[in-house]
């Protein structure tokens, strides 16, 4: 009935739309954000804010704003199915976007304020910066700056490059022995060579 009423008002009676009026197609509203938020609540209403580009849903008590803006369809394919130049956000992908403060994980409970297990974050507050994963034991650092070096992998600890396999640094002391040996460090410039315990005879 609302659709029929609209047709009568706009095509038969010549009612002019104005910026102050919100057009209503059944339960879909197009108008500014302020107009939308001022509209009487009715569960099931949807709205598109022409000034902010956000979509809104009315649960009968309050409006809920979508997290995604409505994207101008310039350059899109005709028809309902978009199968070329997938730039933007759809229900299957996000592309050509920069994500800030985003948690990548599966929520145990939607809307839970606790950090979800499996969340990944880049922590620039640490020195040096760190990549962290949130587990059930808390936040765990993920080694970064890992490089492949002739049959071995190395990583950087406190600006010192260390072999992951041996725990030895590439830098050596004045006696030619690595400054770091099996992640242990001696004071001074002449590291004591790591001993291998051959047991007793």
């Amino acid at each position: 009935m609302a659709i029929a009423k609209h047709i009568v008002e706009h095509e038969i009676l010549g009612v002019q739309d104005s910026d102050a009026l919100a057009e209503t197609f059944a339960q879909f509203i197009i108008g500014t954000k302020a107009v939308i938020l001022a509209t009487t609540h009715s569960a099931g209403q949807f709205a598109l804010a022409t000034d902010t580009g956000y979509l809104y849903f009315d649960d009968g008590d309050s409006w809920h704003q979508s997290g995604v803006k409505f994207v101008d369809g310039a350059g899109w394919d005709m028809g309902a199915i978009q199968d070329s130049s997938p730039i933007g956000i759809t229900d299957e992908y996000i592309s050509d976007k920069t994500l800030y403060d985003v948690v990548l994980s599966i929520y145990n409970n939607f809307g839970d304020s606790d950090t979800p297990i499996g969340a990944i974050q880049y922590n620039a507050d640490d020195t040096p910066d760190s990549l962290q994963v949130y587990t059930d034991l808390g936040v765990a650092n993920v080694p970064i700056d890992i490089a492949y070096l002739t049959g071995d992998y190395t990583h950087v600890v406190n600006n010192t490059t260390i072999s992951i396999r041996s725990g030895n640094s590439l830098d050596v002391g004045l006696n030619g022995i690595p400054i770091v040996q099996e992640y242990s460090v001696d004071m001074g410039a002449f590291p004591y060579p790591t001993s291998i315990d051959g047991g007793t005879f």
Binding site: V157, N158, N159, T160, I162, S169, D171, V172, G173, L174, N175, G176, I179, V180, Y183, S184, V185, D186, M187, G188, A189, F190, P191, Y192
Partner: protein, 289 residues
């Protein structure tokens, strides 16, 4: 930035500074190079000569071999000084420098000296500065002295040892900095050990007079005074971050996480053997630098 070569068998006249036709002297290399260049000292059983020079460029002197004993610069027991003429930095890498006497002329008594605007820098990387004598006069002198210049001193995996002073002076210092805006010292995995003599023992490691900012960061440093004690500093540091270091017989040594005041138990320090004995308290007591 270019790389030039010198060799004890090179020739300053016919050489061109290439690896195939190296020059012979440090002075020739300094004259021919431009700031930022690297001078490679080819390995040799003979020594390069450390003579007086006015530093007018930022240069890196690097030994061809990672074994610092293969590239030796010797003062021959004579008096010599490198005088900075401006804001320049000198780096020694994989080099042993030995047997130098600091000048005794008034107002200029350090081996590496700057009186004027800076900043200036002196860096030792995988190197050893040994067997030298310093003097002190009017709050100057030492191994590295700056007056009115900001400076940076860096020791990385290096040793400064077997040094003393001409006369008994109770405020002499190895490193003297006077009236500079910022004096920054960074020491990692290094050893400082003076000669074990009596009245000729150098009194302080560092001395400051009138400098605005005096910052030090040190890790895995060993200072070992086997004879008379050496004091940590005359004056004060504005920022001290010294950790995992050992100060044996060092007066007023800095406190910090992991610091020790024990005999490091070198295998044979008087003979220049600074390897640690198996029972050394310094084993495993450092931190990844």
């Amino acid at each position: 930035m270019a790389t030039y070569y010198i060799s004890t068998s090179g020739n300053d006249t016919t050489g061109d500074g290439s690896s195939a036709l190296p020059w012979a002297t440090i002075a020739k290399a300094h004259t021919s190079a431009t700031s930022g260049d690297t001078i490679i000292l080819k390995s040799s059983a003979s020594s390069y000569l450390f003579t007086g020079m006015s530093i007018a460029k930022t240069l890196i002197f690097e030994g061809e071999s990672t074994d610092y004993t293969q590239q030796v610069i010797s003062g021959g027991g004579l008096t010599a000084q490198w005088t900075y003429t401006g804001a320049y930095e000198i780096t020694f890498k994989n080099i042993k420098i030995e047997n130098i006497l600091s000048p005794t002329s008034v107002n200029t008594k350090a081996i590496f000296f700057r009186n004027g605007a800076g900043p200036v820098g002196l860096r030792f990387i995988n190197s050893r500065m040994t067997n030298f004598t310093i003097d002190k006069e009017s709050n100057s002198g030492g191994l590295f002295c700056t007056i009115s210049a900001s400076s940076v001193l860096e020791l990385t995996r290096s040793v400064i040892d077997d040094f003393d002073q001409y006369t008994s002076t109770t405020d002499s210092a190895l490193f003297y900095h006077r009236v500079g805006a910022l004096n920054e010292i960074i020491i990692t995995d290094s050893i400082i050990t003076p000669k074990a003599t009596g009245t000729s023992a150098v009194y302080n490691v560092f001395a400051f007079l009138g400098s605005t900012l005096r910052e030090i960061e040190a890790k895995n440093l060993i200072i070992n005074a086997t004879g008379d004690a050496i004091a940590w500093v005359s004056g004060t540091f504005t920022t001290t971050d010294v950790t995992y270091s050992d100060f044996n017989n060092v007066t007023s040594s800095p406190s910090g996480t992991g610091n020790l005041t024990s005999d490091p138990l070198f295998v044979g320090a008087p003979a220049g053997n600074f390897n640690l004995k198996s029972s050394s308290p310094c084993r495993g007591a450092g931190i990844i630098p």
